[in-house]
Symmetry: C2
Subunit: 319 residues, 2 copies
């Protein structure tokens, strides 16, 4: 089968064997996949992953190993990305997200979705409602990650929230929080980067125009150490910064403000697929306007190069 495989650089293969499906797994034929910033980081060496990359996808179940899973056959599905060991305390208490021995689809120990076929445990699968087209369903994973921020903020009173980074993920976070009733401002470094947030009816501002100590809640989805430093700067003492994006350690960050201002820094990663699908059914996020390109797997290397260009948001891949 075709696959975009990371192994001393990213390669397009035509001859990768179709994944073998273990007892609890399903084999899924790819319909559509999305390129995420993490994929770009993996290519640069993040997490030292080797194998097929890709973790945002929608596909159709073509095979299962067990009779009890036959009801999944021919179903259109998306899949959550963490595959826990299933037997540790973490898995039993809180699920697979933070299992220390977890595999992660296309990121750690498990081949990903930028291929004709991908395997996942059936426990990771979510049925895609018929009224959610592939072009929406492919956003389930990043939308779930955006909803995670809402989950982490929801026990606090609704106050103005800033989202730094009007990119792939920041835009989704801002829209989710706005739909939930938050007074959201999207912050970017250029007027051009704020055009789409404006089109989405979100309030915007240039990050460099925001005063110090201005917001109680700031979400950093900038993907850069510079964004995090800005987040610290503009957060009020006693305020909260949700750190959504990973960035390399090469740029130093001054954490003095965290101590002196007694800030809370909250890490945020994966979110609930069921709620993401429910939001997609409502159809009130114009996700199609985020798509900047659509490529076949055989043009996958060009697709990733396109996705890495500044200002580019979602690039989709199809078989």
């Amino acid at each position: 089968m075709q696959a975009l495989e990371l192994n001393k650089g990213l390669n397009y293969r035509q001859d990768k064997p179709i994944p073998e499906v273990s007892a609890d797994e399903a084999l899924i034929r790819l319909k559509l996949a999305g390129i995420c910033a993490t994929d770009l980081e993996l290519v640069k060496g993040y997490a030292q992953f080797t194998g097929t990359i890709g973790h945002e996808f929608v596909g159709v179940v073509e095979a299962v190993s067990q009779e009890t899973h036959r009801h999944w056959l021919n179903k259109r599905v998306v899949g959550s990305i963490n595959i826990g060991c299933g037997i540790c305390d973490v898995c039993r208490r809180d699920g697979p997200e933070h299992c220390l021995n977890r595999r992660v689809l296309g990121i750690r120990g498990h081949d990903g979705a930028f291929a004709d076929y991908v395997s996942l445990p059936v426990g990771n699968l979510y049925l895609v409602p018929e009224d959610v087209p592939d072009e929406m369903a492919v956003f389930t994973e990043p939308l779930a990650a955006a909803i995670r921020v809402f989950k982490q903020l929801e026990h606090w009173p609704v106050k103005p929230v800033a989202v730094i980074g009007p990119g792939r993920l920041g835009l989704l976070i801002a829209k989710v929080l706005a739909l939930a009733g938050y007074d959201v401002e999207v912050l970017g470094r250029s007027a051009m980067s704020l055009a789409l947030p404006k089109q989405w009816q979100l309030k915007t501002a240039l990050v460099q125009d925001v005063s110090a100590n201005y917001y109680d809640y700031v979400v950093d989805a900038s993907g850069q150490a510079g964004g995090f430093s800005q987040a610290l700067r503009m957060t009020k003492p006693g305020g909260t910064v949700v750190l959504k994006s990973t960035f390399s350690a090469s740029e130093p960050v001054d954490l003095t403000k965290v101590v002196v201002g007694e800030l809370n820094i909250v890490g945020s990663r994966c979110g609930p697929f069921d709620e993401a699908l429910a939001v997609l059914r409502q159809g009130n996020i114009p996700l199609e306007t985020m798509v900047d390109g659509r490529y076949s797997l055989r043009d996958g290397l060009a697709a990733l190069q396109h996705a890495a260009q500044p200002g580019v948001r979602k690039i989709l891949l199809q078989p």
Copy 2:
């Protein structure tokens, strides 16, 4: 009067004018002061402060401006260090700690305590109980800062807690948490640094011997970026790191674990003086064993050099 004044380097002066006391202030004659890591950082340029340094002290009120404050005269006092504007929302709601226009004793906009006399608003003063000697009372400010960590953790269930950094502040934090019933482990980089924690009946371990993802709660009082990186490493996913020490931005810290492990980072600064004095009255912290030297103000420069030596804990200053 004598003063240790920071102004293009630290200087010992004999001719500094005694502070003028404004309407709400008291003039306090120094009895004993303590050198803190922040004082050493100020000398290196932290916070760009100029003026008399020093914020840990015990003294006697010698003058007040208003008749209504006369009951403070001749009283032995300690003083909290934040002087808010008193009129902003922050001051009115939460007190002066995070007032954006605050002055801070010996740190920001207000001359400090390494001098024959220091001034403070009477609202910052706390009467020292007669049964608490000067040598204990001088620890009120750092002990309050240690109690602040307890305050930030107390709404969580009691679980094993690690305190990285067996120094001036780490040791107090560990002892406060241990007295409060926490299962505390003090982590240091050398056996020598752990001798005093052991003498204080605290559990100890070498920081480099602790497994990754071991603790739910870690307090970083190491004063170094390396300590914070260790704190991130040894905290379980979903766990909490209390960041107690400031360090310069020159060493980069990889915050990937914060995001992927969804850690909480909680900044921690000043604490409650009344509770610190109550703990001091109980007399069950052997603070005298933390004192590594006692100097006169005229030998203040040597005292600060002594305090900056590795492994040295509290150095005291007297007129």
